[in-house]
Structure formats: C-alpha cells, structure tokens
Symmetry: C2
Subunit: 549 residues, 2 copies
C-alpha cells in the first residue's frame, strides 16, 4: 500500500507545472501549466509538461485539479486535454480563465470542466480531495488536501502568508489545523522563496505606497502591473478614488481581466469611476490614473509602447508619474530597465522596485514556510515549486522544524517517490522533461532543430547550389551562392566573385581526382569555409546542394 508522488514537467522548477499522485488504481493530477522558453530555445512559444506517463495510465486518471488561475498552472490544458479526456476541477476564477482559453482553442464543448468552492469534498476513486484557501497574487488561490488511506496529504499550491489580505481571504489556518490533528502524512509546499529570510510583506503595504505616490503626483499617474494581480488593481482603483481621480484601463489583457473580474465580483468599483482612454484629454492631468500592462517590459505591451510614444491613447509626457508595480522576473531585467530609462527620457517621474515599495510577491519567505511546516506537522515532506537549490533550502528549513532528514525528499521532475506508512524511496523514473510548443503545436524531440537554429543564428548560413548533369552525373560549372545573416550586400559583391573563383578551382581539382558528387560537395564546402573564415573571420553554416541541370 504505497502512495506514489511524481513531479512532472517544468523547466528547472520541480513539480511547478504539474504533479501526479497515484494510489493503487487511482491517479490525481494537480495543475497543468506552461513555462516560457529559455533564451537558447530559439523560436519556441512555450514549454509544457511531458505527459507520456499519464497517457500510458490514462484509465487510472480520475481528475486534474487546478490550484489557481495563473498560466504556469493552467496554460497546458488546451494541449493535454486532447489526450486526456478527464474531469478538471478548478476554483471559480481559474474556471473562468480556463473557460476563455478552451474557447479560444475550440475545446470547451469536449471538456469536463467544473468550478469548485473551498471545502467541497470530491471522491475520486479511493481518494477524496478538498480545496482550502491560501493567499497568493491572484484571487481564489487554493491548496489541496488529498485524503488517502495513509492519512491526509497537503499540497499548498503557490501561497503566501498575508494576515491583512486585500480580498479578505487568508490561508485557511483552521482547516489546516483540523487536518493536522488527524496527523498529516505528507506536506508538499511552495519553495519559490525558500532562499529569502524573514516574512513576505502583506499586499496592503503596496496600497500605502500607491495612496502616497498618487496623492503627491501633480500630473497623470500611470501604473503598470500584472493583469492577473487583481488585488493590486483593486488597490490602485481605491487609491485613485481616495485622490479624486478617474481610472482608465489600457492594454488588451488588462481590459479583459478587469471586465471579467468586475462581472465575477472579484473586483469592486463603481462603474462611474472608469473613463475611456480616448476621453482622457477631457480631464485635467491630475484627475487621472491609468492602469496598464507592461510591468515586465514586454516589447508589445502598452507601457512599452507608451514609453516609445507609439501607444495610440496614451503617450508619456513630462509631468507624468509612472509606477512600475512589479519586480522583473529573472530574464526580463534588461527589458524592464530599458523601459524605465525610456520613461525617464520622456520626462516622467518613475517609481519602481529599486526606489519605492511598489511590489510585494505572492510566495512565502522562510518564516512563512516554517509556519506552514509547524501548522501541518507532517510525517513526510516534499518541497515543490522551485529550482533544485530552492528545494534544498526548503528541505533544510523543514529539518530545522524537526522533520527527520530521511523523511524529507528533494525530487527531480520524473522521479517516482513511493511512500508507505514508515518510509519513502525514489523507486523509478518516468519521462519528466520538457515538451515544446512551436507554431502553436506540440513537438517532441526538438533538440536537433534547436541546435540548427542556434548554429545558423551565430554567423548565418550560405547555400552553394552546384548543378549537376543528370546524364553524366558531373557537376557543371555554374554554381550559385545565397546567404542570410552572414555578410551585407556590399561585402557580398566584393567577396562572391572571389568565392566563385575558389569554387571553380576546387571543381577543377576534384575533376582531376575523379571525385564523386558527395566528395565534390564536401571539397567545395571546405574550400569555402576556409576562404570565408580568412576573409571575414566568420564561420557560417555552409550547405552545398545539387540541382539537376
């Protein structure tokens, strides 16, 4: 009688995008998210988990449970539901977001999507699950308790401890305490900020900054943040009202999210507070707050276009105050910096994470994580949602709270951890790697193509067409060169005539040596590599191709 825990997918982060729990004939999957590609995955749209193990064990899967509505927990659904036609349970807001996504992919009708409330118990084979509230940077974030014959298993989902949350929903300490009194068998907990000492501040801290900065501003105030950070948007609206300003929403995803969360009652504001961006000029600058996207410096986002004076409704001008209410996600630092520089250049005052308390994050820090450990007092502990070093840091926090080292498991994606009443062991591996989505489609085994993209991106490529006579099988002396990303036309006009000479000479030599077509191609290629390296210092990918003459 063992419980299997299998983190699946993710790019460096373990169990972030998907986890499987298997007990005898039942499998439960938690989350189904995407990750954005790393810098060396040229041309890749995003990365999804490898679900081969789940496809193999399709009949056992009882449900996919979604913890909250962020893309890194929901975004893979349109790609995996084709292969796994299983029920999906999600909190109300996540349910709304997933509905939109599945509609876009024309998959809503086939899918079995259910909205759940915290506290509702769902029987899934021999397992029963229930969702409980946590605080995170999107409303309706939940953790999941799985009632197993071995005892309750608690998966925190992404969470922070916020004692003064903007939406009034804290972590459900009471339910966790009750579960704890049953004797928690296993805790899986968010490790994203396990390296950060202390406590994560409350979302309310940002509200104070917003009120003050908007209160002090003489002109327009433009606030950029994540479109899914509904509590932040609520606080910006509240600060605007307090300062007798109207609110305009700019940026497609911000407009969509504000509309939907107003309708679903997650965002609270009187309709009359909003004005259309096109009507901004009818109000004095100091009566306006603009909420927009682009806090990560995304090249096509509204804030970035404002900072380049390319946005149709709002262009930054001297006297504006811009608040970038976010911190750059690793990899986005330069995009964000460039945007801030451009805003300054246009004369704006800019408040950002380096010079003001404009953001708090949605994950617990070390003291918060210790609280979760002490509240649940689990027998076994598996740190999840983090890269290897974060899990290591979280495991050592767990050990500090008294969990024995041998009951703490730092896993890799694809590891199969088997737990029985007494102990646990990694007993095997399933495919837990990355699967790419490119051109909107799922592609496995992409590594050769990525290698090719990388090599042609370095010095470009050069195709040399060598026509050959079908009758004689000989290569005729009418070669043709074509390149991209290698040299400019001025250089080409200078070098190509010389390169043709090199080819003629090489063809002459190969004829003397009576070389076959393949050998001739290689000889020409090598001669060109040498010639162009000498002339330009570059090594483009050189491809000979024979056309029939």
């Amino acid at each position: 009688m063992t419980l299997k825990i299998i983190p699946l997918g993710g790019l460096g982060e373990i169990g972030k995008n998907m986890m499987a729990f298997e007990y005898e004939q039942d499998i439960i999957v938690i989350d189904a998210g995407i990750l954005f590609p790393e810098e060396d995955m040229l041309g890749i749209d995003f990365v999804i988990p490898d679900i081969s193990y789940l496809i193999e064990n399709k009949d056992k899967i009882r449900a996919i449970l979604i913890t909250h509505g962020h893309e890194d927990h929901t975004g893979a659904l349109p790609f995996i539901l084709k292969d796994l036609q299983v029920p999906v349970y999600a909190p109300r807001l996540a349910h709304g977001l997933i509905t939109v996504k599945l509609k876009e992919h024309k998959q809503l009708n086939e899918s079995k999507l259910h909205s759940i409330q915290p506290g509702t118990k769902i029987k899934l084979g021999k397992l029963t699950v229930e969702f409980f509230r946590v605080s995170h940077s999107i409303p309706d974030a939940m953790g999941i308790a799985i009632h197993t014959p071995l005892g309750p298993v608690i998966h925190t989902g992404d969470f922070k401890i916020d004692h003064t949350p903007v939406d009034n929903h804290s972590v459900d300490y009471i339910r966790l305490g009750q579960l704890s009194s049953e004797g928690v068998f296993l805790l899986l907990s968010d490790s994203t900020y396990a390296e950060v000492p202390g406590y994560t501040p409350s979302e309310k801290v940002v509200g104070e900054t917003l009120k003050r900065v908007i209160g002090e501003a003489d002109g327009r105030v433009i606030v950029a943040t994540f479109a899914s950070l509904i509590s932040r948007i609520q606080q910006i609206i509240d600060a605007a009202i307090l300062n007798n300003r109207k609110v305009a929403i700019v940026g497609r995803s911000m407009i969509n999210n504000v509309k939907m969360t107003m309708e679903m009652n997650y965002l609270h504001a009187n309709e009359s507070i909003f004005i259309n961006p096109t009507d901004l000029e009818n109000l004095p600058d100091n009566r306006v707050v603009i909420i927009t996207t682009g806090s990560q410096g995304e090249p096509t986002s509204a804030l970035v276009r404002m900072a380049k004076t390319e946005q149709k409704d709002v262009q930054i001008k001297s006297g504006d105050t811009v608040i970038v209410s976010a911190t750059p996600i690793p990899g986005n630092e330069k995009l964000v910096s460039r945007t801030i520089d451009n805003l300054y250049r246009l004369g704006a005052k800019v408040y950002y994470h380096r010079n003001e308390s404009v953001h708090v994050h949605g994950h617990g820090s070390q003291e918060d994580l210790k609280l979760m450990l002490n509240l649940t007092k689990p027998k076994f502990f598996v740190p999840v949602h983090g890269e290897h070093r974060h899990l290591i840091a979280h495991a050592s926090l767990a050990q500090a709270t008294g969990i024995p080292k041998q009951n703490t498991f730092v896993l890799e994606n694809g590891d199969v951890l088997e737990l029985n009443k007494e102990s646990g062991n990694v007993t095997g591996n399933v495919p837990g790697g990355r699967v790419y989505v490119d051109g909107g489609r799922v592609w496995k085994m992409h590594n050769d193509i990525l290698r090719e993209r990388k090599s042609i991106s370095k010095d470009g490529f050069l195709v040399v067409v060598l026509p050959y006579n079908v009758k004689t099988g000989k290569i005729s002396p009418h070669p043709k060169l074509i390149s991209r990303g290698f040299i400019d036309s001025i250089q080409a006009n200078k070098l190509y005539p010389k390169a043709y000479e090199v080819i003629y000479q090489t063809l002459e030599e190969t004829r003397k040596l009576n070389q076959k077509r393949g050998q001739t191609n290689t000889s020409v290629k090598n001669a060109l590599i040498k010639f162009f390296y000498k002339e330009t210092g570059r090594s483009p990918v050189i491809l000979p191709v024979n056309s029939e003459a």
Copy 2:
C-alpha cells in the same frame, strides 16, 4: 573658452567605456573598453565605442588615459589604436594587462604605452593630467584629475569607498581635498550603484566569511571568483593558510592572473602554499582549497565543467564545499543558478550570494557617492558609468548635496556638453553608438545582418532551388528543397513530397499566366509559405534561388 565633455560608446551605460574631453586644440580620451553583446545581438563577439569623432579630430588627441585594468575600460585598445596612434597612459597593473592584450594582437611594437604612478603629472597640450588612487575591485584603480584653465576636472573612474581595503589603498582623500580647495570645476562620478541606499561594505567583510566557511568545511573547498579580483584571491589564499590548507589554481585566466600578479607583487603568498591541481589527490580533502573561474556560470569555465564532472583535474563530489564568490551580472542569473543547482546535485554544500556574505561589489552606494560629492564640492556635475536611470538617481543625490539643478547634466552617449565658467549646454551630437566586433573584426552598419540572423533563428530557413534553362529562360520542373532549423528529417520526409507537388502546381499556373522568372519565384515562395504554415504552424525564411540548367 569652453570645455567639451563627450561620452562615447557603451551599451545603455553612458560614458562607461570611453569619454573625450576637448579644450581648444587638445583632446584627452579616458578609457577604451568593450561591452559584451545583448541577447538580441546574435553572433556578435562584443561591442566597442564609435570613434568616428576621434578619427576626424585625430590631430588634436594628446593621449588615451586608462583608469584601471578591467576589460570594459581597456578591451577596445587593440581595435582603436590602429586608427589612433596616440600615447596610452595606464596604471602599472592595467599596463601589464594591456601589454598582454596588445601582444596577442601583434600590436605592441607600434603602440606608445606608458605605465604611470599616482601623483605624476603629465602635460598634454594646454591641459595637465594626474592620476589619483581609488578603491575598486582590481588593484591599481585610479581616478583622473585634469587641470584646465577653467579649474580642476575630476573623473572618479570606477570606485568604491573602502576604509579597510585589502591592498591598503583607499581613495586618496587628501589629494581630493587639495584639489577641492582649488575649487573643483567639474566632477564626473561613477553611477553604477546610485540606486542603492547606504554604504558599500568593505572587501574585508568577505574575508571574514571565507575564513569561517573554510574553517568549518570538512572536505575540499572550491572558491570561484573573477580572475581580476586580486584582493579576493588574496583573501582566499590568506584564509587557506589560516586553516592549514594548500591552494591549487584551476582555470586558464585564473592561472595567468595569479602568475602575473605574483610577479608584479600585487598578490602576496609564499610559493610553497601552492600545489599543482594534478597533485590534489596526494593531500587529504580537508587540506585543500581550489581557486577557480566560473562565478558567472560561463559555459566553458572551470567551475561549470567541474559541476558537469567534465573538468580534468577537479570533479565535484559529495563532501565538497563550493563558494561562488560573486553576484550574477544582469543577464547571467540563469547560468549561475543552473551551475549552483548542478553543484548541489553532486552533493556539494554551496555558498552563494543568496545564503552567505560571499561578495561585495566594487562601486560606491548612495552614501559613498554623497561623500565624493561633498569632498570635491564641484561647480558642475556629470554622472557617468551607468544607465539613464542610474544617472538620474545620481543627479538627484548631487542636488541633495547642494549642487544646483542647472549645473547637473545627465548626458547620452554622443552628446557634446560645452561648459564655460558660468554655465553649460548640450550643443551638439557626435556618433556615440555601438560598433560591433564579429569574427574578431570591427563591423559597422550591422543591423541588417542582425535582423536576418534573428529571423532565421526563429523558425529556420528553407531554400528552394528552381533551375532554369539558360536558352529558354524558363524554369525547369526539377526543384530542390533544403532547410535548417525548420523541421526534422521525419517531418521533412513526410512534407517535402507534398511541397514538391505544391511547387509543380504553382509552376504550372505561372506558365499559364506567362509569368517572368522573378514573378515565378515569388509565386513559388508564397505558395510554400502558405503550405508550410498550414502544415506546421511555422514560418521559416523561404528563399527561392535559380540555378542554371
């Protein structure tokens, strides 16, 4: 009678790699550095300043003055000295490093390179310059005072305030005080950390950590840091000696730098403390410290190879302690994180900037910058060495210390600031952009090629060879497809036969329409774009080429 200040080159950072000072018939250049390319500059080795203005005014240039030996202040010399045969003055250690570099480029004989001591005055036309000591993350770092008819101009170079420096060289406060008493006309000061509140800690802080962590380690200790951070290397050696351990140096640049700085007397250690990496196995693990490169996660560095167990002398094993004594430079975060994860996976204990005080940086923070401002009390102030927002932050620090706003100038690269006794104005612009080095050679006007590299890196390319009959001018029906970075061979085997059908069909249509060769090529290209987008969701760069049949 005006002094012109012209920041040149740099990538986002202003005046970092090069600045020009022009007074009547004399130009002095400070620094000549390189920058590493940004992620969208595919295949570029590095970026150097645009010196067109200097080439135009060659006769006026009296000297290039180097503040210290880091590559971002010296690395462009081999590329610009070909065009500007002017004397170069550099502090002793920088002189040594530049000598090595120019020798590699076979340019040492033609160059007029001089080593200077702090305090020595050099008359350069109507201007006189002198170097004064500052603290920075490499020994022999200097600021420069330029004595002009308008008063002394002070350029700090890169600096920090370190009251307990490892090499016993603080900023020369006394000389700065003397200059201040003459009435400083203009201060140009390092803005790299102008956003950071408080004081930058002394290099000695890291020494305490090193002593403690090495003292507590049971096995081998491997410390990775910058090869140019000689004070850090000194402190690692000192901590090794204190703990009765021998020192092995691994990594080409680390070996070279240790050797050179031992010979030049910047690094102090008894030869007997060192052992050869190949002899490591003859010593117990707890008698060994290994100093190495790779603190930025550079893919070919020694630490990264150790973490992949690919390094020939040292492979990480359980029981090792690794200290990554650096913070990741923006853009390197992921490389560093992956390296730390791999070290943990091999069973090492890892200390890095998130969990231990393993690094301090070499630039002054806000309170340090205020000290420099108050020590020099300049009439005019130009923040340099930073991106736009850093200069803005530094300018507001200057205004807080009492410098009038109209006497503070935030410049862009290429701006010409003209200062007279009373006031200053940006009066013009010279080329201040970036020049690329690719394949070891200088290339201007690279943007088209970079755009091509970017587009082929996204979805690869496809060349379609369409032979044509020279006599009839008609395209013959023997097309040929060749691609890279687009689809794999399995896909190609499936799709190419269909694509040939598409080509035949299109050729048939173009024949009916009596299309010319150029039109036919375009028709084929468009048909293939459509076909492959439908089949794969991808849009490779498609290039038709006609070969003679």
